[in-house]
Amino acid sequence: MNSSNVVRGLVAVVVFQLLVLSGEYLTSVAPLWFGEPAILKIRPVDPRSLFRGNYVALNYDLEEVGNEESISELKPLKIQDILYVSLKKKDGYHQAGSLSKTEPNRGLFIRGRVQAVGPSSIRLKYGIEAYFAPKERAREIEKRIRKSRSANRVPTSSAATGSEAAESLLPYARIRLLSSGKAALEELQWGLEDL
């Protein structure tokens, strides 16, 4: 291969890399720009990824969905199959409604991938399970979540102070959803007063 062809080839690869990065960027921001907002309840833990830095792993209430009846209707189900979960707003945040293998015609819904199928529930992943933050902040979030969890397990006394009440606020994820059900994580929030 002569040198001008090599240079042309190299430019093509640089353009390819640019397209990959732009594609990744655009698919990441599309739900944030055009998506519908929704609030999900979360349950976190905090690992560190070799490639991705520190993050708080978010487990959603929405992670386990379905019941015996809906599972038998959806069968056969394979790992990594795509399922759509319709979202219904109840008690100030969005909760799982019906399940389907095809995109629902109306209403808000989220697209997830099957991770495991049990006798009475299906475990799904939505691609919004990681909240990246600096190490200290990730720890802080983790600590606050644990505190709010334990505070909410014990019945609240009538004499709870302002800071105690603030610490007992539960964590929620503010997400945005495209019309295809693709979700993007926007921010974490404490309590539901923003709604």
């Binding site: 640089v14 991705r52 830095g53």
Partner: protein
């Protein structure tokens, strides 16, 4: 003698010393080195050192950037961070292209290597900025896809090594997440093409051949539903991976003798050497009763097809190789060499058959197989020493010694049966060694007589 090819850089450097000392002429040195697909070292040594240090500097700068940006620099707005990453990746790569246009390929490769690091960093960090949690091995995959063409266009070793490492990482993570890494096979084929046609590299060739074996074993497990895509360690998969390794070693041995270029012969020698090493480790592992108990456990064999395929692959490739070898040369040395290899292959075949279709893991059966494996290890050790002396191969000589010493050590600490049983086994092994020595002495004398 063939194994010296694996040490060709050292040989070239030694040859230069011989030329300097006027022991041989430069032309003679070149002629000798041509036999090993190498030549006298040319160019300034300091330039080589400069290039190595500059490449390592690029790696460290890349790592510094990864660590720096991994710290989640939250103060900067998302879009600025994003544009910064894209700019630094594109800018660094364009510097590489500029160096290539200016006929400075070495500098160009360094820039492109740094650019490839920034490219991967950008993929991971854009995912971080936007909290993307969906299937992160995809990031590794796209990183590899953006690096591999650079390696082919520039013929750069470090870029190719990076692509191979990334594809291995992707393979492990992808398979670990229950996906079948289909395209890994093609990347490994690309690695073989690179090492044979573009830029000779034993490391790349060996990694690619090993990768293909790994992929085939994973594919078999996935196809039979033993796993959803990840690596499987059941008896069937162990048997199939040994069959793949056996046929690879036989291909290596064939390449060593019949390949047209010195480079391919060199690769063949390395595959055969490492294949023999792996085979010896396997035999030594099975000199323990525990290994046989696990292998003969019938619960691990639900797919007779994979066992039959393994038998056909392992025994078939040996028969094929033996046929060609005997057609080419059928003296007593060759027959002995093929006989020992054939003994190992037959032993393996019968063991696979027994494990999959016949024997249960009763204590008596396990004991018999263990004793037979110990005797096989002694035979292999002796055969390696004899072959090493005939072919003046240091590597095989020490491998033979190591096998026998390891066996003595293992059996001293892990007696088969009671003390009497252990002593009998040691006696039998000693007997085999003595008989081999006497046979060898007679054989060598006869050969000498015939030559005279």
């Amino acid at each position: 003698m063939k194994l010296l090819r694996a040490l060709k850089n050292e040989l070239a450097s030694e040859a230069l010393t011989w030329v300097d000392k006027r022991l041989i002429t430069k032309e003679q040195a070149e002629k000798i080195l041509r036999l090993y697909d190498t030549s006298l070292p040319t160019g300034d040594k300091s330039a080589r050192g400069y290039n190595v240090l500059m490449t390592l500097a690029a790696l460290f700068i890349g790592l510094a950037v990864i660590v720096l940006v991994s710290a989640n620099w939250e103060q900067i707005p998302r879009t600025v961070r994003m544009l910064g990453l894209i700019s630094i990746t594109t800018g660094t790569n364009l510097m590489g292209v500029r160096a290539y246009r200016g006929q400075r390929p070495k500098a160009g490769k360094r820039w492109l290597f740094l650019g490839a690091i920034f490219y991967g960093t950008s993929i991971m960090l854009i995912a971080q900025i936007y909290h993307l949690g969906e299937h992160f091995p995809d990031g590794l995959y796209w990183w590899m896809l953006g690096t591999l063409p650079l390696a082919f266009l520039t013929k750069g070793f470090i870029l190719m090594l990076m692509s191979i490492l990334l594809s291995y990482l992707w393979f492990v993570v992808e398979a670990g997440m229950d996906f079948m890494p289909w395209t890994f096979f093609f990347v490994m084929l690309a690695g073989i093409y690179y090492a044979t046609k573009l830029h000779g590299s034993i490391l790349i060739f060996f990694a690619s051949v090993f990768g293909i074996n790994l992929w085939l074993v994973t594919l078999s497990s996935w196809w039979l539903g033993l796993t959803k895509g990840g690596l499987d360690t059941s008896g069937e998969s162990v048997v199939f991976s040994t069959a793949c390794a056996m046929s690879t070693v036989i291909i290596g041995a064939w390449m060593e003798r019949r390949a047209l270029s010195e480079r391919m012969k060199n690769y063949g020698a390395v595959i055969r050497l490492w294949g023999v090493r792996a085979g010896l480790v396997l035999i030594l592992m099975f000199t323990f009763e525990t290994s046989w108990r696990e292998l003969l456990d019938p619960s691990g064999y639900d797919h007779p097809f994979l066992l039959v395929l393994s038998l056909v692959l392992g025994v078939g490739s040996f028969i094929f190789a033996a046929f060609y070898q005997l057609r080419e040369k059928s003296d007593r040395e060759t027959i002995i060499k093929l006989g020992v290899t054939g003994l190992c292959v037959i032993f393996w075949g019968v063991a696979v058959y027994a494990a999959g279709f016949g024997a249960d893991a009763t204590p008596g059966v396990v004991r018999i197989w263990t004793i037979l494996t110990n005797l096989l290890a002694v035979v292999c050790g002796v055969a390696l020493i004899i072959e090493a002396v005939y072919e003046t191969s240091t590597a095989y000589f020490y491998m033979g010694i190591a096998v026998l010493l390891c066996l003595a050590l293992f059996r001293y600490f892990d007696l088969i049966g009671d003390y009497i049983g252990g002593a009998v086994l040691f006696m039998v092994c000693g007997g085999i060694l003595m008989a081999s020595a006497r046979f060898w002495k007679k054989f060598a004398a006869k050969t000498k007589e015939q030559k005279a």
